[in-house]
């Protein structure tokens, strides 16, 4: 426990520094309440960090973290960040209740994008900037950022980052994990800046462009407008965001493969090929459905809306250009399937992840072969790498955990009698996959504000669990963590 707390001495300084951007925004737009709120939270973080370092030491390189400490560290960082991050909402009176503010912040850090704010335009601009920044920070991972900035964190970095990085793999891009983290963040920053420039070329102002780029690359989906991207009513902006959402849902390591080995090598990646195939097929099916059943008369408009919604849901971003609640049933079912699959591993997207979908499909085919031909057993491999039995056990264990958590969360939020099956199921699904909007009462033009405090809290925890790939959070609450020597 002491080892974990001493980490916070340094971490809180980093978090405090993150409040500089909204503070700057508050200064530019002369929002006095926001200036006071962000200054207070910033000073609080620095002060707490100082106190911890003073009493527990600041040399994090000397920390001998055990495996279980890594899980506790990551889980607690996400919970503490969500608590501290909610303070600006409360102090500026943007969201008066703690539970609601916690939900909004957790939704930010986990890049979910679900909101309880009905009138988002009425919030101070600095608060909206903080809201977008939480998503950007959470997108690639708070700890990964920490590791990228602090090379002296050393050998423990990989264990800790593995507990935070989405997807089953953390490939080495560099000799040290710090190098990997730095390269991932460089790609992340370059893509974010590129999107800001492209959105500004489309007529967006810097504030809106920055906010939407931060939340696009993080696959977060928070917008500064209640009607999301529909507010801009621009094909150009819609397509720019669509392309960047596709990129954000792609395995970031592949960008370095692209630079080093060209597009052919990138396309050799099975997960990437499946990811693109799902995007293209889903877009085509929804476009056809919109034209034949959905009352669309303009094919390009149907294609634009279909492509945008497919990428926003599959990359688990959660923007909206239209109320897809009103779309034909086929489109809604496809949207649910996309929410489950999510994006690629080592991307900022949530969900089960395409690589696991691929592994499950290969396992099913192998199972059929075993059933049909008895002893004919072939190894399951992805990109010519054989998956070990242990990995397969983890993958199916994760999928079972995902299904059971999803159903349990749906049940839990239904017991109070709020919402109907579709709203509660898609709400829980959207939170566990970090998408944002669900269907019916939690659809793209609605918010989660109708849920009571208990349900809001449950959904916030589900978001954090989903972002940490379930295992990290569940390990901390398991009997094995509390009694590590029990077998």
């Amino acid at each position: 426990m002491k080892r974990t707390i001493s980490f916070y001495g340094v971490y809180l300084n980093l978090l405090g520094a993150c409040f500089a951007l909204p503070l700057l925004t508050a200064l530019i737009y002369r929002e006095s309440t926001s200036i006071r709120a962000f200054s207070f939270v910033m000073i609080l973080c620095f002060a707490l960090g100082f106190v911890i370092r003073k009493f527990l030491g600041s040399d994090i390189n000397s920390l001998s973290l055990k495996l279980r400490d890594s899980y506790l560290l990551v889980a607690s960082v996400w919970l503490v960040s969500s608590v501290i991050g909610s303070l600006p909402y409360i102090l500026t009176d943007s969201i008066p209740g703690f539970i609601d503010a916690f939900f909004e912040t957790a939704s930010g850090f986990t890049t979910t994008g679900a909101t309880i704010i009905d009138d988002v335009e009425s919030l101070p601009r600095a608060v909206l900037m903080w809201r977008s920044l939480t998503q950007w920070l959470g997108g690639m991972g708070i700890i990964v950022l920490f590791v990228a900035l602090l090379p002296r964190f050393g050998i423990k970095a990989r264990n800790i980052a593995a507990a935070e990085t989405p997807g089953p793999t953390v490939t080495k891009l560099s000799s040290s994990f710090t190098g990997t983290a730095q390269r991932l963040y460089i790609a992340y920053i370059i893509l974010t800046l590129a999107e800001i420039v492209l959105l500004m070329l489309g007529g967006m102002n810097l504030y809106d462009a920055a906010n939407h780029s931060l939340t696009t690359m993080a696959t977060g989906g928070f917008s500064t407008y209640a009607d999301s991207i529909a507010h801009f009513d621009s094909y150009y902006i819609t397509w720019v965001i669509t392309i960047f959402m596709v990129l954000a849902g792609t395995n970031f390591e592949l960008f370095f493969v692209l630079i080093g080995g060209g597009i052919r090598k990138m396309f050799r990646n099975e997960e990437f090929r499946l990811y693109l195939s799902i995007v293209v097929i889903s877009t085509a099916l929804i476009t056809i459905s919109l034209i034949t059943q959905g009352g669309y008369t303009d094919a390009f408009s149907a294609l634009t809306d279909a492509a945008f919604q497919v990428t926003t849901i599959m990359s688990t971003t959660g923007f909206a250009t239209t109320d897809f609640n009103l779309w034909p049933t086929l489109c809604l079912t496809i949207i649910i399937l996309l929410m489950i699959s999510g994006g690629s591993s080592s991307s900022t997207a949530g969900g089960v992840k395409v690589i696991r979908v691929l592994a499950i499909w290969k396992l099913i085919v192998r199972e059929m072969k075993i059933k049909l031909h008895g002893r004919v057993v072939k190894d399951v491999s992805i990109d010519r790498h054989k998956l070990l039995p242990e990995t397969l056990t983890y993958i199916v264990g994760f999928v079972s955990m995902y299904i059971i958590t999803l159903l349990a969360a749906t049940l839990l939020i239904s017991l109070s009698g709020q919402g109907d099956l579709i709203s509660n199921f898609t709400g829980a699904l959207s939170c566990i996959s970090n998408v944002g909007p669900g269907l019916e009462k939690v659809g793209p033009v609605c918010t989660y504000s109708f849920y009571n405090g208990f349900n809001t809290f449950v959904l916030a925890i589900v978001m954090i669990a989903g972002r940490l790939e379930l295992v990290t959070l569940f390990v901390v609450f398991s009997k094995y963590f509390i009694h590590p020597d029990r077998v």
Partner: protein, 488 residues
């Protein structure tokens, strides 16, 4: 001709002859009720089955020394599909005014024990109603299993075929208690049916209705013949009998084998039985609390009774409607709906992915968490205090994933009818779990309305998927199914 092929033909011929024999009581009933059209149709069906069976038997052989898994799967799949097809023709010609898709769906619902129909039960002649209930009963225990009880076969072959037809996870089918006892299942199944018939008749139910009810309820197939599975006006005693036998039908039949053999230690160790009983008890309590909380003025005893009857009906995937569920709070409906995925126990006539697999999935999750804390430590998963091989545990988890994938793909195909998301999800679930009745649906009965022929065909396929546990049907679309072992 190879021994294995001769064996398949022999099995097919036996199944056809058994189906022909099963038509004798409905023909007699039709004659008694003066339904000449039904008599003619069923006589044609009976002659076709009997004739086909006799012809095939001349090519078949019952002695087989070795049989490949692929051949066993082919035997089960082709037998089921052939019998469903034949019954579709019987329904199509016997029930006036229905289309081919309605007949196919009716046949699938009958064989798979699903309380679903695309038309009102009043349209079915009495003799055809008995035919439907007999099919429920045959499908509930498994037609192949019935054939195996008639012909002699080596234990390896018989247990292999039974394992494909009887729903349940592989890790339980590998065990000696299954492989040496599966022949006893039919005796127990028949005994329960008879007991239920006697108890229903003793409760004042007309004999014919009691017979139909016993046949269908023993197979967790609902009660389509009674007002489209709506039994809200039935006396409490009758509801109680239905509830008791629906619970027994969805319980692992091995439990009753152990009782017969006085192996009480095995029952005590049965984690599935404890899990299932606990799950049902908690659900009844929760549903009762939620209903009373929503309307405190209600009679608590009546609420608990109604909740128990309804919860058992759905959690056993029987799907009859025993109380007014339209007034239930949304939480109650969702509580029951989510548990429909689990269904009943292994080796029961209920659908769903089964309690045993869920228990293994929960243990796998626990193991995954354990391994994250102790990566270098090795621990064996157990079920009923017996170890499970890791590949069998992966299979159990994988089946849950496959079940959910099939459910969502079923909903996707049903949504082509633009039927509304709730209906697409709800009907896909109720067909795949072989429940039939869509809980909370507008119709409030087991009659499915508003779907095209394609939608009804999809529902039929979902029912077969649910009954045969997906893989055998899925294999038809798999290239390896049509290849011999030598070419793989």
């Amino acid at each position: 001709m190879a021994d294995s092929r001769r064996y398949i033909l022999n099995m097919l011929s036996l199944a056809l002859i058994l189906t022909a024999v099963a038509m004798v009581p409905p023909v007699a009933a039709s004659l008694a009720f003066g339904e000449s059209h039904s008599v003619n149709v069923m006589m044609c069906g009976m002659l076709f089955c009997a004739g086909g069976g006799i012809i095939l038997s001349s090519f078949g052989g019952s002695t087989v020394t070795d049989i490949k898994p692929r051949t066993m799967i082919m035997t089960v799949v082709f037998t089921w599909l052939l019998l469903i097809l034949i019954s579709s023709f019987v329904f199509y010609f016997a029930v006036p005014g229905i289309g081919p898709a309605d007949a196919f769906m009716e046949s699938c619902a009958s064989w798979t024990g699903t309380a679903a129909s695309s038309f009102d039960s009043g349209m079915l002649p009495s003799g055809i109603m008995l035919y439907r209930s007999i099919l429920n009963w045959l499908g509930g225990i498994g037609i192949i299993l019935l054939c195996l009880s008639i012909i002699r076969s080596r234990r390896y072959v018989g247990a292999g075929l039974a394992a494909i037809e009887i729903p349940g996870p592989d890790f339980l089918k590998d065990r000696p208690e299954f492989r040496s006892n599966y022949r006893m299942f039919i005796m127990i199944y028949a005994a329960f049916t008879l007991a239920q018939f006697i108890l229903l008749a003793a409760g004042g139910m007309p004999l014919y209705t009691a017979l139909l009810s016993a046949l269908s309820n023993s197979a967790s197939a609902g009660l389509h013949h009674i007002n489209n599975s709506v039994i809200t006006s039935m006396p409490a005693y009758i509801k109680g009998i239905f509830t008791l036998f629906a619970f027994l039908a969805s319980t692992n039949i091995l439990i009753f084998v152990f009782i017969c053999r006085r192996q009480f230690a095995e029952i005590k160790n049965s984690s599935e039985l404890k899990f299932r009983a606990g799950r049902i008890a908690i659900s009844i309590v929760l549903v009762s609390i939620l209903i009373i909380a929503a309307n405190p003025a209600q009679d608590a005893v009546k609420v608990i009774g109604d909740s128990a009857v309804s919860v058992v009906s759905f959690l056993s995937t029987s799907g009859y409607i025993a109380s007014d569920m339209s007034s239930w709070p949304a939480g109650c409906i969702i509580l029951v709906m989510l548990q429909l995925f689990i269904g009943g126990s292994a080796f029961s006539s209920a659908g769903g992915f089964k309690d045993a697999r869920l228990i293994v999935a929960l243990k796998s999750i626990s193991y995954t968490l354990y391994r994250h804390i102790h990566p270098s430590s090795v621990r064996t998963l157990t079920f009923d205090k017996k170890p499970i091989k890791s590949d069998r545990a992966v299979s159990a988890n994988l089946f849950i994933a496959l079940f959910m994938i099939t459910y969502l793909l079923g909903a996707l195909l049903l949504s082509l009818d633009n039927c509304g998301l709730y209906n697409a999800l709800c009907y896909s679930q109720s067909m795949l779990t072989c429940t039939g009745t869509c809980i909370g649906a507008a119709s409030g009965s087991d009659v499915v309305t508003g779907f095209s022929s394609f939608g009804k065909f999809v529902m039929g396929m979902l029912m077969i998927c649910g009954r045969l546990e997906i893989y055998p049907l899925m294999m038809l679309f798999f290239r390896g199914f049509w290849k011999s072992d030598a070419s793989v």
